[in-house]
């Protein structure tokens, strides 16, 4: 059973086509990293899932039920761009209104619990419009977590969060998706952060899903390699090429892509009396993978 299943979804604003038959599957309990450039259709997809805008064609299924099903929809937590709070009433009142909206029984503890998670208990009394950008973002996250939803849709939640805020965000997401109780669809540009928590990835470009994979697949696609720098790189390169098949020089370091142990490479070089000054086993991270993908015109 998948949390979200989208089949050839199309949406155009006037003559500009935001989404052109997008396909997407998010399994249960996954943290789905949704990656794409500015204006590639990420927010449009999220708004479509939440039923805020109407698609031109295509189907959206949540937990194998149609996305208009009331019982499912009442268990979605959402934070798209900015938290929809009333500016001139206090944060606490905003939360109370949202608690009523979700029909939560013992709302005061629930609100305190959620505010404690994002460490915002202290400033619950001041008006929403007086909070800084980072604090508003945390309140938005608290809003989405209210009434522990089964599906969490976050559009660039890390925007404006400081280091501490990002750490909280990571812990919260890992914690709530622990026993498959909640599924998270999160879009962000800070790929370093996303890499730490995402279990699945979806890369979208110009309204089309160009790559969908799990974290393991990403591991496989991002080969590890031995990075070496020596006093004389050319000589080292010649020596390496004698023994290893795939040796590429990139931004002044030699990369050996064959599957081999680093220490063997070092001892082999030492035996050729070449002294490497820099040795490390490295892996292409998500950011490099994404940039290569984009440069290659998107279809791998």
């Amino acid at each position: 059973m998948n949390a979200i299943e989208i089949r050839n979804l199309t949406k155009n604003y006037g003559e500009k086509q935001a989404l052109s038959n997008l396909n997407m599957t998010v399994p249960m309990g996954a943290i789905y990293g949704f990656i794409g450039e500015n204006g590639s259709g990420k927010s449009t997809t999220e708004k479509l899932i939440c039923g805020l805008i109407r698609p031109n064609s295509g189907t959206i299924k949540l937990f194998d039920k149609d996305y208009h099903d009331q019982e499912i929809r009442s268990q979605i937590g959402v934070l798209i761009e900015s938290p929809g709070c009333f500016p001139n009433i206090s944060v606490w009142d905003n939360m109370k209104i949202q608690a009523a909206n979700l029909g939560i029984k013992n709302e005061n503890e629930e609100i305190r619990r959620v505010l404690k998670i994002v460490r915002m208990e202290g400033s619950a009394s001041n008006k929403f419009k007086n909070c800084s950008l980072g604090m508003k973002q945390r309140i938005g996250i608290a809003f989405a977590l209210l009434g522990n939803p089964k599906l969490l849709i976050l559009d660039e939640p890390i925007n404006g969060l400081d280091a501490d805020g990002m750490r909280i965000m990571r812990e919260v997401l890992i914690d709530i998706t622990k026993n498959l109780s909640c599924t998270v669809l999160i879009s962000s540009h800070i790929l370093g952060e996303l890499e730490k928590i995402a279990t699945h990835y979806g890369i979208i470009r110009n309204g089309k899903m160009i790559k969908e994979m799990t974290a393991e697949e990403l591991e496989k696609e991002c080969p590890t390699y031995v990075a070496i720098k020596a006093k004389d790189n050319i000589e080292a390169k010649r020596a390496l090429e004698k023994r290893y098949k795939k040796v590429i020089e990139e931004n002044d370091e030699l990369r050996v892509y064959d599957s081999c142990l680093t220490k063997d490479v070092v001892s082999y070089l030492y035996s050729e009396n070449i002294l490497p000054t820099y040795v490390q086993t490295k892996k292409i991270n998500l950011e490099e993978y994404y940039i290569n993908l984009m440069d290659k015109g998107g279809t791998l």
Binding site: G51, L52, I53, R54, Q70, I76, F86, G103, I153
Partner: protein, 260 residues
């Protein structure tokens, strides 16, 4: 209306009532509704029947005023249509205030972005419309009563006679009741227009004022001072039909258009 819809409506009503009485908007409106009749009655009677002599032409102009407190409610059914001050500034002003209030109340949802949280969780738009109609209706009843009480207070301060010729307490109550149900018509018009205009508050207010102007003429006929039970029933039926009909229209609009 099976059980699920019912408690959805209940939660929506809770949201709206909590939102209504936590933001300052409704209290400002209550204040206005209480002060306007007091101001009108006190100002006009205070300035009234003092003849003002114009120095350059020596011509005397008399400000005509309220002669009876109940004029604040309107005129008896036999009084003709008149464009003078009393027939303009009476309780019928409240229809515009209520309409503008409903517009602001709905557009506040769209401008603050709260609609994102609302309609993500609620697939059905009908509850939103029903609950908005009910909460605005309750608030407008309070406003009507405040206006009425303000009129009484103003009349007392101005020392106007409370005499009742051609109508009695019973008919006044019927008149108030029928005015109450006509409020429903104005509210549902305002809600539908606000659902169309969404964040563009100025558009909905202008349309409401325009639309209100047309309906404004027929109110004195529908709710004269000597209104009977028949008036009340007619207004009740009219109000209910209007609100249900327009509720479906609003639901259709919200379903068909994008909300963000």
């Amino acid at each position: 209306m099976n059980k699920a819809n019912l408690n959805n409506l209940k939660s929506m009503l809770k949201v709206d009532s909590r939102r209504m009485f936590k933001t300052p908007l409704v209290y400002i409106m209550f204040g206005i509704c209480f002060m306007i009749p007091v101001l009108i009655l006190v100002m006009t009677s205070f300035m009234g029947n003092t003849s003002v002599v114009d120095p350059s032409t020596g011509e005397e102009t008399v400000m005509e005023t309220f002669t009876n407190v109940w004029q604040i409610l309107g005129a008896t059914s036999n009084a003709g249509m008149s464009m003078d001050l009393t027939s303009m500034c009476n309780i019928n002003l409240i229809y515009f205030i209520v309409a503008i209030f409903a517009c602001i109340f709905v557009s506040e949802d769209f401008r603050s972005g709260y609609v994102k949280n609302l309609f993500t969780i609620r697939a059905k738009r009908m509850e939103y419309v029903i609950s908005k109609t009910i909460t605005c209706f309750i608030a407008s009843i309070v406003m009507l009563l405040l206006f009425f009480i303000g009129g009484m207070v103003g009349g007392a301060i101005a020392g106007l006679p409370f005499s009742m010729d051609g109508f009695n307490v019973g008919t006044i109550i019927c008149c108030l009741l029928s005015k109450m149900f006509i409020l429903l018509i104005f509210i549902s018009i305002a809600l539908t227009l606000a659902c169309v205009a969404k964040t563009k508050l100025w558009l909905s207010i202008i349309c409401v004022l325009g639309g209100g102007m047309l309906l404004f003429m027929m109110i004195p006929m529908m709710t004269p001072l000597d209104a009977g039970i028949l008036n009340v029933i007619m207004c009740f039926v009219g109000g209910i039909l209007f609100s249900i009909g327009l509720a479906f229209v609003s639901k259709f609009i919200l379903n068909k258009t994008s909300l963000v």
